[in-house]
Symmetry: C2
Subunit: 109 residues, 2 copies
DNA sequence: CTACGATATATCAAAACACGATATAGTTCA
DNA sequence: TGAACTATATCGTGTTTTGATATATCGTAG
């Protein structure tokens, strides 16, 4: 069924720029205001699966040495990953439109 | 983490009107154009969990006898269920807004 | 210079969840 | 009557999440 929430948020975070795991975790937590927390278990398991599926890949590019941290592993979204993310965004857009039309006791804050 | 996709779609379908299981299944499939398919396994397991959590309840109200089908079991969303759905819609709205602003290679069709 | 909190990755067991098959049976309509 | 559709239910398997634990580096306040 569609994309698991963790996969969606990882692709979403990587669509903006290459990131390392911890950065994905923090970005997602901030974006969702704490509603979606990717713990290490969920995060690294999902990164492995996404790489297996070819939706992300590990990047060799490193930031300037003075900004780098040797522990980090950077990930990049692939073309297939962008396509999967696009499909998911389209699906969510349809759902939100339907919610708006039906006025399901909800208004954007 | 937030709501599992199946839980979200069940609450979403019930927010419009009381429905029986099969109707939730069909409505969800139509809304998502086949992207989200709730098979019997996922559906009835999720209905049980949602009832345990007090987000839905079984309804005793039946449609007019000539429109009814004795096999059906109707479900209704509770106040807590509406609150959970509202929170989820708000979260998705924030995510979609962010996607729009960042222009993540996607345009509504 | 050292102790502490934040950063960063990794793995494990248990629980929650999804998927596909199978089962049963009533309904609709040709 | 028989085929397709409606409707609910359960089971085993596989996938995904959760929470705990582990290890180690980095930045910085004391």
């Amino acid at each position: 069924m569609a994309l698991p929430t963790s996969h969606f948020h990882i692709l979403f975070a990587l669509a903006e720029e290459d990131r390392h795991g911890y950065s994905i975790m923090k970005e997602t937590e901030e974006l969702t205001q704490g509603d979606v927390r990717l713990g290490p278990g969920a995060l690294y398991a999902a990164l492995g699966r996404l790489a297996d599926q070819g939706l992300i890949e590990e990047s060799e590019e490193r930031p300037a040495p003075d900004l780098d941290d040797a522990r980090r592993r950077y990930y990049r979204i692939t073309e297939d990953g962008r396509a999967a993310l696009g499909g998911e965004l389209q699906r969510l857009h349809r759902v939100m439109e339907h919610a708006r039309r039906a006025d399901l006791g909800w208004s954007p804050t």
